[in-house]
Symmetry: C2
Subunit: 463 residues, 2 copies
């Protein structure tokens, strides 16, 4: 129908936005469809228009115009979130920040940099190449820094370098009243009032739009060594991680892939790792300290039934290894051509991790679809990827039931319903179960800052 | 006058609180005076009553009763804050949490513990002694964990282990409506909604009362080595720190004491360090890695005009060294018997630190009072302690002017007006200068959560 594809943007607002951004305002269905689609299993919902912003001032003007017209605003980066975090459930204006892709400042001596929200993490690290510094947070996808801040992303090396919670020093934010604020100065620590930086990190665009991000950087280690080790049992792998941390080893990365995921990785990347529970490690430090770390951890692994370490300090081999890990999601989907992924994640205290993964694995072995497990085990965080045949709606229901059992299990262990994907659309009921009346406090904050509920409405919680 | 010392607590409220806590409700002037006094130069203001709470439920009942009666509530721990953070400027009920001093749970395998808010950090570390773990955050004073969370405290080893922002996993909080919430589960990371934990950390009791704190712990290092090194120039000391961090050395502690502070420390602790700009270091790791760190850093120091390292790995010598550092404040006051201290702190990006301390030092050399400098230089954070003769009110005015110049200098360098002391009463104007309209956003949050402005009113900002 013609009507279905016509945007619902008020005419006066459309004119205002056109005057602001010219042909960077898009009303065509293809562009709207692309911005309303999800990387995961969530149904596509179309925004009324897409605007490619280039400056904070444009974002502020667009927000003011939309709020005056009562039209929702959804910030959009690389579109790699997986809990429906950017789905425009009430239509409105999607502000795409991907053209705000300038690295504004690098302060090498201060170990920080400031980027526009649309800069992607791989581009940032390319930009930093000659500074001796790097930005560690690595969620797998080549996400934008603004998006990573908004979902409180983390990934493979959070065990050593923290998550976006620790990585963000300061933000520039357009608030729902169209003002531009900076949440903090560039000092590494501060006790100056409420922690607005951390309030916006993880708020999924529901309190305002992040347009600039100041990030902590880290010195590139002198030596980096990657290693792979397979285990006869899940418990052996998890115990190896716990004992390594107890021994004070600053693991830079430690990733668990189960047998199903290893099969998927072998197939996609044409590798021949044993198809067993496997840990991928990375060690950072001086040359001698890295050797010491490997020696200690390989002894711990051997004591827990681990294989000998396959290790490498060659950059190209390390890249190949981590590329295989990073493509885990696509490798999983490739197990079943034409499939749709439903990636979910939970995070539990370390002492419960082996039990939580073990019980989950028993569940998944009964499932009618492939469902590999990948975990950032140093944090107690792991993912299940349900690989669903879209022609079989009963599989969606099955995945939903398995996901429910997984999250209930994590909550019963004092864990969280999401370690790093955010709440979006997918985990709202679980947020209430996890935090109870504390969610009412979040609602109070949301209503105070966005009284008309126009910033990415319908996300995190219902109002 | 009799009238002046009579509390203003409404009779019905007094009866309610008495029924709740019996003789743990104190109306006598001595107790009220003690809880209204400041560790620093702020004038004493009396609360109307002091209540020693023993359970979260008692705190919740007291808050409900006070809010119903329109009476302010001020949380009180060890009383070691130094920006007037607990001064009861509008009277009201002071809830003293020091009897809530139980370590509730230690999860060694999860590297975390949960304590009541009144537990002090030294008691916590004594409790942890046999677990192989420790709690690193160390603001000098033997503060309570609830108070440390409330002011976002940090201290000597934040450079390695972070501040209370990073150390707190979860909080139990009594909100102004008398409900008890938990801000997060015990998982090490989570992307589940707004970061309420970080919202309460640093909120100085203005949004609710923290009654339990869940903290991240760290494995005790195999080896600890402390070292002292003096420098001909301030720049040489600061450059040593920057270059060490750039080399990837995970300094566990690095403290700068200027010549005035070294004189004070020598006098008080009967030591004979050279009275020059001095760095106190601590290195943590395996025995061989600690040796490697010391070798690298001592070479860097030598290249920057540093003396040979005086170092020690004996626990008693290390304790003596750090005791001298921890008593810096009292050592400074002892430079001038009968004096009152005005400790202030700022934090700037590392690249500006030498310049900021240098210009400050020039100012202080003109001052009519001693004013030593002590810095957590790995973070860009330093303190000035104005040692004031209370009989000379002109010295207060002079300290105020020097403090103004210090804070303006830090703000001009993109620094913060307080690295770790909080805003309290002392830094409110500076918070506005530092963050501008962002402070309005804090006010929105405050009004939403505490609409009657009864939680520690008058702190952080005016409403």
């Amino acid at each position: 129908m013609e009507a279905a594809s016509r945007p619902a943007l008020p005419v006066a607002l459309e004119a205002q936005l056109q005057a602001l951004c010219g042909d960077r305002l898009h009303l065509g269905e293809a562009m709207r469809r692309q911005h309303g689609a999800s990387e995961a299993h969530f149904a596509t919902r179309l925004p009324d228009a897409v605007l490619f912003a280039r400056t904070t001032e444009e974002v502020a003007a667009a927000v003011r115009a939309c709020v005056a017209a009562g039209v929702p605003v959804i910030a959009y980066g690389a579109g790699t979130s997986i809990e429906g975090n950017t789905t425009p459930v009430r239509g409105g204006l999607c502000i795409d920040l991907s053209q705000m892709d300038a690295v504004l400042e690098v302060h090498a001596e201060d170990f920080d940099c400031t980027v526009q929200a649309g800069v992607r993490r791989e581009e940032l690290n390319r930009h930093l190449r000659d500074t001796g510094l790097f930005f560690p947070i690595d969620p797998g996808a080549n996400a934008t820094l603004g998006g990573m801040a908004s979902t409180r992303a983390s990934g493979t090396n959070a065990v050593r370098y923290g998550t976006m919670r620790e990585a963000v020093l300061s933000l520039r934010v357009v608030t729902p009243d169209g003002r531009v604020i900076r949440t903090s100065r560039r000092a590494r620590k501060s006790a100056a009032g409420y922690d607005l930086t951390r309030l916006f990190v993880g708020s999924e665009g529901t309190l305002g739009i992040i347009t600039e991000v100041t990030l902590r950087l880290h010195p590139l280690p002198d030596a980096i060594l990657a290693a792979v080790c397979s285990f006869a049992t899940l418990g052996g792998a998890v115990d190896t991680v716990v004992q390594s941390i107890q021994s004070g080893i600053p693991l830079a990365r430690v990733e668990l892939l189960d047998d199903v995921q290893m099969r998927a990785v072998n197939r996609r990347a044409k590798l021949d790792y044993p198809e067993l529970t496997t840990l991928f490690f990375e060690f950072h430090g001086s040359a001698s300290y890295v050797e010491e770390q490997v020696r200690v951890v390989s002894e711990i692994a051997a004591g827990n039934g681990g294989s000998a370490f396959q290790w490498s300090n060659l950059p190209e081999e390390r890249s190949r290894l981590w590329k295989a890990r990073h493509e885990a999601y696509y490798a999983a989907l490739a197990l079943r051509p034409g499939s749709v992924g439903w990636p979910t994640d939970v995070c539990v205290p370390m002492s419960r991790l082996a039990e939580c993964i073990g019980a989950t694995k028993l569940d998944l072995e009964q499932a009618s679809m492939p469902a590999p497990i990948v975990g950032h085990v140093g944090d107690g965080n792991f993912h299940v990827i349900f690989v669903i045949d879209p022609a079989r709606p009963e599989e969606l229901a099955e995945a939903e039931a398995l996901n429910r059992r997984l999250v209930e299990r994590a909550l019963a262990m004092d864990g969280t319903c999401t370690g790093e994907h955010g709440i979006g659309l997918g985990k709202q009921d679980w947020l209430e179960r996890e935090l109870g009346e504390a969610v009412d406090l979040m609602r109070l904050v949301k209503r105070a800052i966005d009284p008309l509920n126009l910033m990415n409405p319908g996300k995190i919680f219902s109002l």
